[in-house]
Each structure stands twice: as structure tokens, then as C-alpha cells.
Amino acid sequence: MIYKGKQKIWSDYQKEIPDDHWFYVRSCIRQNFFPASEVTFLRILRDELGKDIYETPHHTTCGGIAYHQECIPQETQMTIIARQFALMTEAGYENYACSCITSFGLYCETLETWHEMPEVLDRIRENLWKACRREFNIPKYLAHSSDLVYKFRDEIADRAKYKLVNKDTGEPLKVVEHIGCHYAKMFPSKGVGGAEYPYVLVGMAERWGGNVIDYPERRHCCGYGFRQYHVKANRGYSISNTHKKFESMEPYHPDFIVTNCPGCPYFLDRWQYVIAEQTGKTYGGNGYGIPVLTYEEMAGLVLGYDPWDLGMQTHQIAVEPLLDKIGVKYDESKKYEGTGGKPLPEPEFPMNIRCC
């Protein structure tokens, strides 16, 4: 590997990310799968860094899942997006940040379509007006929320309590970064670092002390693939793709995986359990799996937030081995304590993979 070569590509793919004043939209599924990630994002940006991030409870789904399963036509989906933009416009913002990669890809696609075909934009404005009497401006800047964390990686590093380093050996942790397909594969110039060697997560992990590994199937999809998972008959195909990735990264013995997409961490995390139950194979050491983190969780850990506040007890794969490696202090007894004194139900433990 020639690191310089990558640096050159990274320098070619830098995008402008404004400093402040963002209109933020959440992801449909992340709030369920990784319930604390988006909260953590807001906590870091607002509380730690003092940025102005605006949220509104009136925003909806972007329509991406339905669109990618060909349940709704493009025009409908564009109108949904137009409504989100209208909310932004009404709130007086120009910078639009979204939490979901599917949405990010879709926003890029929509903006590009409007750019290439202004007549479509006119029609969508008309649709939106007819539907809900709203008007909108096209955002000045579009970013994925990982772009923002990437942008403030130095500020976060300055406030860091922990480094991504094995406290016993002093070696950097081996990090697998997985980028959601729709982040830059469709529009390489819209992603930090481009499509082939995306830098957005590499930048964070390396800045915070980790070492990113480049394994052969790095570019491969996590296996979700919308219909491939949602249609049960295709699910074997979905898990096979995930399996391929694990087989490929296995020889590198990664310490954890970090992702920036709603679906990827979910499938990389949950499928490890299914693979273990089907084949008996686990990929972490000592019968554990490889912990899968969102970038917000990674940032939260670095900043010293309580892992249970970061929602890491909702992971299928136990994060404790990773926490121990970094030296994060945590109280095992509080894992299922829950907020507001209401305890979380404790999960059953599977047969073939150690989950605690």
C-alpha cells in the first residue's frame, strides 16, 4: 500500500462544508436501531462545539426505502424531498444535513436531476404547491452528518478523553471503515475522498489514533440491498454478501467496524449472529464478534461519554472487549438500566457467539 497515493486522491476529493447553521433531518431507521447515535450527534455539535443545528418534528421520511424498492415513483419521492426543503426554507436555513446515507444519495440524485432538467424542478414546485401550499429554496450546501463530524474531527480530538489505541500494547486499533454505498458511489465528488477510497471515516479514525485497514472487499456492499433483505426469499443473498466481507476482513483481525449508514451497522452487527448460528463461525477474538459502531458512537467514546448513554447495549455484538481495549470505564451493572429508572428488558444470549 502506498499511502501517498491515497493522500493524493483525498486531496482531489475535498468538499466545502460550512462551519455552522445546519438544518438537520433524522433517519427513519437509525432511531430504532442505534437510538442514541443521532442524539449523540446533536450533543457533540450543540453542547461540545456550540454549533447551531436546527431540527423540526415536522420532517418526514425522504421516501428512499420505498423508492429503492420501486414502490413509489421518482416524482413522488422528489416532492417529499421538496417538502423537507420547504421546511428548511421556512426555518430560514440554507445548509441541509441528513443523518441517513440513503437520503443523502437521494438528495444528491434529486438535486442533480433538477440541475440537469429544470423543467422537472418546475413541476415539483407545482406539485408541492398543489399538495401542501409550500414553497422551497434549493439548499446551498448539502452534507451528510458524518461530513460534519469529519469536519470537526480536530476539535473533537482536542476534547478527547480516549484515543483509539490499545491501552495495553499502545498499538493503534485496527479499524474497518465501511461507507454506505449511496454516500459516494453514485456521485464521487459529493463524498469526502471520493468513491474508491472515501476519506470521511478514515479521517476521523486516523485523527483519533486508529489505524484503518484496507481489506480486499472493502468496497463491497454490507449486504442490505433493500429488496435483498426485505424479501425473505432473497435474504440468503443478503447475508452471503455480508459473509463475504467478514471472510475478507478476518485475516486482519480488526478491532471494530465503523460505519456511516443506517443499514450497514445494523446488518454488519446482526448478521454476525446469524452467521454464527448457521456456520458456527465468529470473527472477533475468543468467540466474540467484531463490534460495529456508528461514527457518532465512535466520537462519543473518544469524548468519554458513557457507553450505555451511547446506546451500545442495543448492539448484538458485545462492545465490552473493545471498551476494555481502549480502557473506557463503564459500569456493567448499568447496561440494562434504561433511562428514567425504567429498566430495559435483558436479551437472551445466543448459542454460538459470545455476547457478553
Partner: protein, 335 residues
Amino acid sequence: MAKDNVVVIGGGPCGIEVSRNLRDMGYTPILLEQQPELGGHLRKWDRLFPEGVEARKVLKELTSDLKGVKWFTEVNIESIQKSRKGYTVNVDTGMSFETKALVLTTGFKLFPAENKQEYGYNIYERVITNADLEQFFKTKKDSRIQNPKTIGFVHCVGSRDEKACNRQCSKVCCATAVKQASEIKELFPDATVYCFYMDLRLFGRSYEDMYLNAQRKYGVRFIRGRVSEVSEDIDGKLYVKAEDTLLGKPMKIKMDLLVLMTGILPGDSTRPFAEMLKVPTGEDGFFTPKDTILEPCVTKESGLFVAGACTGPKTIPETISEARATAIQVHKYLS
């Protein structure tokens, strides 16, 4: 009777041959070259297809007799003024040349392989280009080539690829790939050599024999399918993904060496000259001559000629013929 000056810009095989022929006709050619030596890309090549003639010998032959040719290396053209009499060429060394006829033989450049990011040139150790391999054939030294057992050649890197902003076929890379595959097999007889092609476009006298030899004598395995991506394994070997389109199956091969057959693009100076001298260029960026069939060396501007690979990918013999034809065109124009 001393005849006129003719300025020739670009000291590759074409520029040299134009100058030599003009000299033979009694003109005083002034040959300007940006690089420290004459010879262009030919300097970097080891052998030429189809028979494997040594490039060194061809170059030696071309440069053996330059008496009467005024040639300057390491000169950059600052500006060119067109007047009624002809052209005034000003160069960075302070000299300027008056000429009635100006010949552009600015040649081509190889597609920068790193732009095809998925192939990982300059990122993965064992990915090299056709030019690198020629250099290795010349010097037998390259830290990246360590007795490889599996070698792949990727055709059409930066050619016939809209994503690489070059829709055109570079014409010479297929023949070069077949030549190089055979040559490397000769150096490493135990290696398995694969060529990944989209179409094999090598045509011309005895090229087919070269292809046949590569198949029969050297056992080079031709796979119809374009390499989609390359990645590196933990041991530093390359994973190459492609589809065998004749079998309709995706395939993955672990390789010790991957050679990218970079295509031909217009030289970097083509666009500045085109703008400076108002020579039209095609969508592909090469100079467009007055008439692509009957007057391939003449431009619409009077006294301005173009020859060689600056009007499109060409083989060396084609370039040489065109150079000689251009000299005659210049002579006709001047007399």
C-alpha cells in the same frame, strides 16, 4: 540557394523525421523539444511490435543524421505570432524564430493511470503501467516485479471509457499488451499470464501471428472481460475482479503483478497550441486537420501543419510515413 527556415515543434519520431526530410529538400528545419533529449515516447520503449525491433535502434537510426537540422532541447514555447509573412515563434530561452511554415508534431501523452482509481495505480505496490513495464524490460530493474507467478494485463485503461473521459480507442495498446504479455512470459516462463480485454483490436500485417504466438507459444490466457476493481490482500498480492463474459461468470484472481495498458491522450500542449494558433480540435482533444482523408497533415490556417500522434493515436510506421508526407506538403506550400 539557401532555402527557408521551417519550425517544427515536438522532437519525437515524427518531428525528427519531418525535419530530416525538410533538410534533405534543402530547408533549414528548426526542431524544438521541451524535454532534455529528442525521441519522445520512443525513448522510454524497449521493443516495438510486431517483430520486436529494438526501439533504441529505431531511435538511433532516426537521430543518427541530424546534420543541417537546428535542434534545441529543453525549450518551451512562450508565444507564437502569426503575421502576413508567416509565424514568429518565441521561446523561453529568449530566442525567436521566423518561419513561413510551422509544423506541430506535439505527440500524445499516456493516460494517467492513477485517474482510474479503482485499479489502484500508485496505491497498490504491484500495479504498474505499460510504460513502467517497458522501462523494466530495458533496465530489468523494478522493485515491484519480483518473480511474479500470476500476471494480469488490463486492456483499455483510459481508452474507450466515458468514465475516464476518453471514448476513443487508443489503437496501439492491444498490440502492445500482446507483445508485452509474450515478453514477460519469456522472462518468467513459470508465470500464468492473463489479458483482460473488451475487444481485441490489433490489426495490421503479422499482428495476428503475434497474437497467435502469444496464445500458442506463450500460453497467454485471454479473458474477455474488463477488470472492475483491484484490491490488495493482507500479503500484498492483488485481488482482481472481472467477468469472463464468454462464460458469463464473475471471477476473482489473486495476482502478483498487474499491468495497466494506459491509452493515448492528446499531449498537454495540444490545447494551448490549439488556442494559440486557432487549430480546431475534436471532442477527443486531438488536432483536427483540414481534411481527415485527403489532407491529414494540413490545417485550415495557411502555413500550419500537423503530423503524428497529435492528430490521433498512431503506430511508429504510420507516424514516420505521415512525417514524410508532411515534409512534402510543406515543400509544396513553400515553393
